[in-house]
Symmetry: C2
Subunit: 188 residues, 2 copies
């Protein structure tokens, strides 16, 4: 359901094509929602037949055919409902890296330390991606979405990005604590 709601979210900024939506997902939402291209087009079809969006126009300005979609009143309603009624189930998401952490005690001491280092490495990489690209991405997002930079709607995307970074930092701390704990236990 969330992909469809995300699409409605982007379309409520301005009418756009499936291709635009895919680019925006990649630019600004990739770290919390990897959106599949095929899935986007399928969702657009579903939203269209549901009357949540409508065909705004088919253009062909030096390039291939382009279908622009616009959000309808009904779609605005759905989007609004989704935003003001966050549910408990929206909070429970599959975190396979925590599943790995959970079972990492099955490894030997050495292997577990190697595991923690590997998690640290990947986590640091993601943090760097977020730190170096976040603001650039938000700017690119602003341009692609044709928003003014101080547009009120931008601020939440910045906060979401900030959350990504905060979480990475907190996770680094936890992993370091775990490492220290294991080393301490080995000395006893």
């Amino acid at each position: 359901m969330s992909l469809e709601n995300g699409i409605l979210g982007y379309l409520s900024i301005r009418p756009m094509s499936g291709y635009d939506i895919k680019k925006l997902f990649n630019l600004s939402a990739a770290y919390f929602w990897p959106a599949d291209q095929a899935q986007i087009y399928r969702s657009l079809k579903k939203l269209l037949s549901d009357g949540q969006i409508e065909l705004h126009g088919i253009s062909r300005g030096d390039g291939p055919e382009r279908k622009e979609y616009a959000i309808t009143e009904k779609g605005q309603g759905t989007l609004h409902d989704w935003l003001i009624h966050p549910s408990q189930t929206d909070f429970i998401s599959r975190l396979s890296y925590i599943m790995q952490l959970f079972f990492s005690g099955l490894l030997s001491g050495e292997d577990q330390l190697r595991f923690l280092d590997e998690q640290l490495r990947i986590n640091q990489g993601i943090l760097q991606q977020l730190e170096f690209n976040c603001w650039d991405n938000i700017k690119a997002y602003t341009e692609t979405a044709k928003l003014s930079e101080d547009d009120i709607r931008l601020t939440s995307s910045v906060w979401a990005c900030k959350w990504g970074m905060l979480r990475c930092k907190a996770y680094t701390e936890l992993l370091e604590e775990m490492k220290a704990d294991i080393r301490k236990k080995r000395l006893m």
Copy 2:
């Protein structure tokens, strides 16, 4: 893939049935992996035909038929590989609550404040569940899995639970910051 790996993880503690595995998921992994019962039985079938697990015995001690599965050498190998090679894709998970946060700027000031309060409320609820149940769950998990309480393999589950709580607390702080920011902007 992670559900299968999780099942292998539980089975590497001791042989058990699909029903046991479902209970353990609910007890100790529900907040980072809601496992569907039907999916567990289907995964067991697949793991069996893959030779990752084997039928350890069918018992019927005052109750319905019970199929116990044990992990094979091959399964141990798969589990070990999964644990020592965490991948970048394991880190990217769909977070629909962040998608909502991302788009919450589309709401009016009042509605956005209401949205943030709702997120705070749900997040606090999850934190309480984790705080009040985590240790109890780990103990229940210990008993169900028939582990001694200071078993080395337990510690990772405690850390995973701790991570859940840390994340909730950090998210609460972020949401409060956002609220303060919105109120400040309204006064300007």
